[in-house]
Symmetry: C2
Subunit: 719 residues, 2 copies
């Protein structure tokens, strides 16, 4: 697919030239970075203040409806701890990113290599801090509850004690997930409203590019990258990690041997802990140019990132085996399952998750990187206008589901078969074991995007070409990160679904029964309703933004020399995203509670199964479609689609040349696809992960309540 002519167009060697940054430019860059930081901080503070109120109210709901023993409030406390930890994680991530962006710009002025290293290092800090924090709090909770709930005399300990204790711990995952949901949706609406708004500003104000300093939406756009793609994504994956650990614990509560054995108790934590060590080792390969990471052209960035995934996977394969042998007893069994589970079976489950995560990453890269056929064909189809681009892009997203879904199905089958729902939870932990690297490559994207924005606004042209290369790779890495997030979210939700079934004593969820099948159909519909709501939210917010830009244009604020009112645009994006994040959020939170309260756990089981299977498909296809459209645009901008020389001659006797570069109709068609893809890949797509996980963990926490109520179902029909 990659011929030499294309190579030259899109993938030139990095020049040795250094762009000089004088003091004035430096001051401007720092000022811009400061504005971005302040905007992001202001948004997060406002968003978190809403969330804190929501969490207090939701805590009351948990207290009255979901606490197993009346008057106790440990689930509520764990829930609030989870929420606060998630908030802190998002905030730390954002602070790192807003500091790293200007540094990346500076280094990119020197070389692509140095720019990459700074951006990647910043992403890694984010990854290590988040995972470390999640594990630390989880470990403290596990030790504290162990001391609190278990009788002093070890002989009195039964697995019932554990069961009770683990249900409290599930609150931790719930807290993390609720914050993640609002973070993703609120941040996603913010970032895409600003992005789409400034993209389309050119429609109302002629000749106003997206990242131009005269575009008043540009600072909001850069703020959005930080609050949506960094803080939101951090909270999302923090939630995944917390929830998969919770799921493993709750399920292991039904295995007497697993819970009494101290090693086995800490096994899920140890997988993640070892993952951190493995990622630190891996990380050295990316940051030492003299070792294996020479970044001289665009394609090198993707190679290094793929290398990072591969190396961490290779280190983890034997590493997890050692952890398993040390921590787990040779064989154990679960209540309700006849077969004995061996230590090796558990290892196989974890490995399945790890490998299928790697495969999902590779496939995602294939469909979203402009190094391969799919994106290049998409770019070619732009020649025929926006409609063929949109048609082909949607088809690309749909077909890109196939391999990841098969990977997941195989993982589910094997780990289910080997260790039932515990196996699924382990597979999720396996997939998340190199989460630090996943977060690093995911965080690297928005940092480069920001660096590019700062370069453009400071008129550093050479630097901008370098940041563009980093950013194009960032689209792919973001898609890979999302692929991981979706895959792990699927496994985590399924494990939580299993935990929910265990808790509600459902041994069978029979889709040949009316309640379950109706639930399945309704559940599969929820991701569609959710996507529609978030997309509409982005549309509405972007329109408000465009109107504001048009207003400022009328006032003459956008002329050369005048200062546009950036703050007003930030305010509009903030307001719109905060008011728009609640309806879809409430849909996700209320659906399982209302359905469970009216129709009982069986209906909820149907809804969960439906929502999970439907959300996976939509999430994969949305994030891949969006990534592919964005990169098709970048590919055209980099000159990947060659000008056509026609046989016909013009008046001067020269052959007519049809140009496909920036500004041509072809490029406009590509921009249309990119704009459509924006809300898909950065708002609704990634929020769908959280939809599955959150619905599952809410069902788990409220399971007991559903059994007690189920108002519309004759009690006899319950198991």
């Amino acid at each position: 697919m990659i011929d030499d002519a294309d190579k030259k167009g899109s993938d030139k060697l990095d020049s040795k030239q250094v762009e000089h940054i004088n003091e004035e430019k430096m001051a401007l860059m720092l000022k811009l970075s400061g504005m971005i930081r302040d905007g992001a901080k202001a948004f997060l503070f406002k968003e978190y203040s809403y969330m804190i109120v929501f969490c207090i109210l939701f805590g009351l709901i948990i207290f009255f409806l979901a606490e197993t023993q009346m008057g106790e409030c440990w689930t509520v406390i764990t829930f609030e701890i989870g929420a606060v930890t998630s908030i802190i994680s998002g905030y730390i991530g954002m602070m790192i990113a807003v500091t790293a962006n200007v540094k990346t710009t500076k280094e990119c002025a020197i070389s692509l290599q140095r720019g990459f290293i700074v951006a990647y290092k910043a992403g890694s800090v984010l990854g290590f801090v988040l995972v470390g924090l999640a594990l630390l709090v989880m470990a403290i909770l596990m030790i504290a509850y162990r001391l609190m709930y278990l009788p002093q005399n070890p002989e009195e300990v039964t697995w019932l004690h554990y069961q009770l204790m683990f249900e409290k711990i599930a609150g931790y995952g719930l807290g993390g997930s609720i914050i993640a949901l609002f973070g993703r949706v609120g941040g996603g609406v913010y970032t895409k409203a600003a992005d789409v708004g400034s993209d389309l500003a050119g429609k109302v104000v002629k000749g106003l590019p997206e990242d131009d300093i005269r575009n008043p939406g540009t600072i909001a756009d850069n703020v959005g990258d930080n609050v949506g793609d960094i803080a939101g994504m951090g909270a999302d994956l923090f939630g995944s990690l917390a929830e998969s650990t919770c799921a493993a614990l709750v399920v292991s509560g039904t295995s007497p041997l697993l819970v009494i054995n101290t090693g086995a108790y800490y096994y899920p934590l140890c997988i993640s802990a070892f993952g951190i060590l493995a990622c630190i080792a891996t990380w050295f390969f990316a940051t030492q140019p003299e070792m294996c990471c020479r970044i001289q052209r665009f394609s090198d960035v993707e190679k290094v990132i793929k290398g990072q995934l591969l190396i961490s996977t290779l280190i983890l394969i034997p590493g997890i085996y050692i952890v398993t042998v040390i921590m787990l007893p040779p064989t154990f069994s679960f209540d309700g399952i006849e077969q004995e589970v061996t230590r090796n079976a558990c290892y196989v489950c974890t490995l399945c998750g790890l490998i299928s995560g790697f495969l999902i990453g590779i496939v995602t890269e294939y469909y979203t990187s402009n190094e391969y056929g799919p994106v290049r064909e998409l770019a070619e189809s732009c020649k025929k206008g926006p409609a063929p681009n949109v048609i082909k892009g949607l088809a690309l997203g749909y077909i890109s589901n196939v391999v990841p879904v098969i990977c997941l199905a195989v993982t589910i089958y094997i780990s289910f078969k080997f260790a039932d729902m515990y196996g699924i939870a382990l597979a999720a932990l396996g997939m998340l074991s190199n989460l630090c690297i996943g977060l690093a490559i995911d965080g690297y994207g928005p940092i480069s995007d920001n660096a590019g924005g700062i370069a453009e606004m400071s008129h550093l042209h050479l630097t901008r070409t370098r940041t563009d290369k980093l950013d194009a790779a960032g689209n792919t890495t973001a898609a890979i990160g999302k692929g991981f997030a979706i895959g792990s979210a699927c496994l985590v939700s399924l494990a939580l679904f299993g935990a929910f079934a265990t808790r509600c004593h459902l041994t069978v969820v029979n889709v040949l029964e009316p309640l379950q099948f109706s639930g399945l159909v309704i559940g599969a519909m929820l991701p569609y309703a959710f996507t529609a709501m978030t997309m509409k939210a982005v549309g509405t917010a972007a329109e408000a933004m465009i109107e504001e830009i048009a207003r400022q244009d009328k006032l003459g604020l956008l002329k050369e020399g005048a200062t546009p009112d950036y703050a007003k645009c930030i305010e509009i994006a903030t307001k719109a995203s905060l008011s728009e994040m609640f309806p879809p959020g409430i849909l996700v939170i209320a659906s399982p509670i209302v359905i469970g309260c009216l129709f009982g756990p069986k209906a909820v089981a149907g809804v969960l199964a439906g929502a999970i299977v439907s959300a996976i498909q939509m999430a994969f296809s949305q994030s891949n479609t969006g990534g592919a459209w964005d990169n098709a645009k970048k590919y055209i901008e980099a000159g990947g689609v060659k000008p056509e020389i026609l046989d016909e001659k013009d008046e001067e006797g020269q052959n007519i040349v049809i140009n496909h570069a920036k500004g041509s109709d072809t490029h406009k068609a590509a921009v249309c696809g990119d704009t459509v893809g924006d809300p898909l890949k950065d708002t609704s797509g990634p929020a769908l992960n959280i939809l599955m996980k959150l619905m599952a963990i809410i069902s788990l926490v409220f399971g007991d309540f559903f059994i007690r109520t189920a108002y519309l179902i004759p009690k006899t029909s319950e198991v």
Copy 2:
């Protein structure tokens, strides 16, 4: 939502003016109609010749793999009868439509009223012939097999005889469905390749509108309406009817009383038969202008059509009750279900289907008609360019799922609860009981579209404005028809799924087991892969078409006075659609067979459940999105989006006016949405119905084979 200003714009009173058609124009019209007929015939003959070969081969597969008793071939024979009946149905429908199109043009020259009546009458003929034929053949088969399989002595009759007999009859549905699948996909690719190709022709040849006589793709476009939307759709709904009757019979095979009672045996047929009578009565209301159907403006067309649905539903409500009381025994029971089923319960199930079909129709109309808010908002969003239009359109499609899916879920729950899977089959029959009307309003659309094409090519401008109104209503009616088709397909597939479970002795399909959950995930992915394949097929075929048009332009064939090579375009569309219809078709047919052969019936059950829940959502959203985009474009063309008068003055001191009419940027944005929607609403969306039904009936017919093979699953794990 509808203010007076809008009314005036889009919904003017029909003028009394009659457009004169001179002999020359008449001859041209007849010539055009003849070309369309010949093109359609040629395509269908070619398509059917492929299908006949396929059906013979597939008959052999059935013979060797699926016949329960070795050496017997009754399933094969019934299968071939189903296939042939389906082919005949499609052909008759197409012949009616290609004769009616020019008549509609002629009548539209006189008045909107007369044009509507001709088009609707033609649609009705299609409806009555199709349903009548399906019932006739079904009745003959049922009588023949009863005579053949049942012992002479009534005392020797057991329900096992019936069970065996019904399984043969299932072949009838399978034959109908396989033809329907290829008809829908082949016809859908044909019609959309031609449509998208001629839409985009303007991109390569400046100023060449879609329906212009100089556009060589225009005849192919009109042929496509007949082969895709008439023949394909007819075969689709013929299949639904045949399959729902089969499903009711197979399920009733497990009820001793139901099968031995002659009335009960013919009950499913009688519902459909009474439906024909009810539709004949209803039909009079639409065709008698003096009674209640005065069509003077655009909105009247939709009112009459809604009226038709309402009247037929109102007649059927008491009618079906009478049929039920006459035909069914007061109570009966099923094997494996404890509860007794009463006659009244069966009536409720049928009623549920009928009413939920009506509701789905109404909701679909709301989302796709330009009389209501959603489409008007979509049209307004076109002002901001193609991307906002695509974003809002996708969101519209997703949200339009909600009510239909809830209707279906409630119907499933109630009918499941009242009469188990038999109830679901009855609900499907209830929804299809006014199928004649459904087919009439569905067939009416492409006929008007063709009439409009002929009017445009014959330069009848007043007539064209009238056919445009009919056609705009036709987009809505097509969406309503598709809504019915999807809803009934969901119920039919579920009933067949139940029949499959009965046949394979699966009493439980537990999604908490690995095989079933993995199947569920894979099954939910199949509609995505299928959609991607069909969309890509349309894209590829449309590109071939555009290249051909460009080639003819170079040769000077498209200049005023020259005759473009229509036949070449027809040939290209035919070739492309026939070669592109096999891969997605094989995917649907092979998936259940391969999975069943390797992993057994349990995995197939999971795949079926996943495919059904996922396909419903995609089918609803795709057909509604496409209909809404098409009508948003029509709304803009009719002047629904008012020109904006700005405060700014131009050089002459006049206020600057931004125009949104045909040819403006706003209209171009709308055309982009329409083009994207074309393959969604006419190729992949409607083919998804058949995907669900076909996968379910294949599983049913091959169920026995799956039990015998299941190579990769230890036999002990099977129930």
